[in-house]
């Protein structure tokens, strides 16, 4: 990539480099905020794999819901979670899966 050769001296801001990369194994947090949240409860505490780093940094929708936008941009990740990880008695194929975009504050590395 030419961007790398031209801009080697550029220092990225904190948070500009995504914490997770494609292929990283992650777990979604188990917490139950009251109000506006964007990780559905059925996906709390689930293990998955980063399939894609969403290219544009975005505002944390949970903060945005309360009008707090400044400085709250971060990375969203498309996470792949097997259906059998979500539903113990899933009726379908073991390869069936779910994908969801998750803001970085909900993810921990495993």
């Amino acid at each position: 990539m030419t961007a790398q050769t031209i801009a080697q001296t550029v220092v990225p801001a904190l948070g500009e480099i995504p914490d997770f990369q494609v292929g990283d194994r992650v777990r979604t947090a188990v917490r139950f905020p009251v109000g506006h949240y964007r990780l559905p409860t059925y996906l709390r505490g689930k293990t998955g794999v980063v399939e894609r780093v969403i290219p544009t940094m975005g505002v944390d929708n949970e903060e945005e819901g309360y009008g707090r936008n400044a400085g709250s941009k971060g990375h969203y990740y498309r996470i792949a979670i097997p259906m059998t990880e979500i539903w113990a008695e899933y009726k379908g194929q073991a390869t069936d899966g779910l994908r969801i975009e998750v803001f970085e504050t909900w993810l921990e590395r495993i």
Partner: protein
């Protein structure tokens, strides 16, 4: 909004109701009292207009923007991807940029991931939390998309849901359900049906329906007997 809209305009019906008509033409009117959220919306809207944070015309204009978006736009995107391999590549890499190339703007500041159906993978989209939907390319979502049965079941038993739409996905095909929640929206790129090699881009677009771009049905093509 609870606007009663009875469409009683049958052809040949002259609307003279002075002869004991059992089903008189109802006036189009709002019959229900506004609910809690209707009143909240009205109050907030009136306050924002009163404080000059935006004008009534801006609301009208935005409704016009929303109404200009229909599944016909998505169908054009799909047909272009079917006939132009380079476009298809760019679209799969960045769905929003691909659509913007065709003049479809993203007024709601969402990103778009285009999900390609293949003989190995079938994609289905849902929003379990509310009704996130690729409105810039498909317009307003159908009612069933917004209701809880679809939202709950699409992620829990997608194969059963698809069967109810008349879609059977073989066991050796992987089902991928994308739950849209925050800033990313999804559009399914259905498989191009067999026998359509001779069709023009426009004819192809006419085959692509809303439901196929949500992923609940494949695109069908009935070859006409020559």
């Amino acid at each position: 909004m609870h606007v009663e809209n009875h469409d009683h305009d049958e052809p040949g019906h002259d609307h003279h109701h002075d002869h004991g008509h059992s089903d008189p033409h109802e006036e189009i009117s709002i019959t229900e009292l506004p609910g809690y959220y209707d009143m909240l919306e009205t109050a907030v809207r009136e306050l924002l207009v009163e404080r000059k944070l935006f004008g009534a015309d801006e609301i009208r204009r935005q409704i016009e923007v929303l109404d200009s978006r229909t599944p016909a736009l998505g169908a054009k995107v799909v047909a272009r991807a079917w006939v132009d391999g380079e476009f298809r590549k760019r679209l799969l890499e960045d769905g929003r940029k691909g659509c913007e190339e065709l003049g479809i703007s993203f007024y709601d500041d969402t990103q778009l991931i285009v999900l390609e159906n293949t003989p190995e993978v079938h994609n289905l989209i849902v929003c379990t939390l509310c009704s996130c939907y690729p409105r810039p390319v498909l317009g307003l979502p159908p009612d069933w998309y917004k209701l809880k049965p679809y939202r709950a079941r699409a992620v829990y038993e997608p194969r059963a849901v698809l069967e109810e739409f008349g879609t059977h996905i073989p066991d050796d095909v992987e089902i991928v359900v994308s739950d849209s929640t925050a800033m990313v929206r999804y559009l399914v790129l259905p498989m191009r049906p067999a026998g359509t090699e001779g069709l023009s881009e426009e004819e192809l677009a006419a085959l692509v329906t809303r439901d196929a771009m949500i992923g609940v049905i494949p695109v069908e093509y009935q070859e006409r007997a020559a």
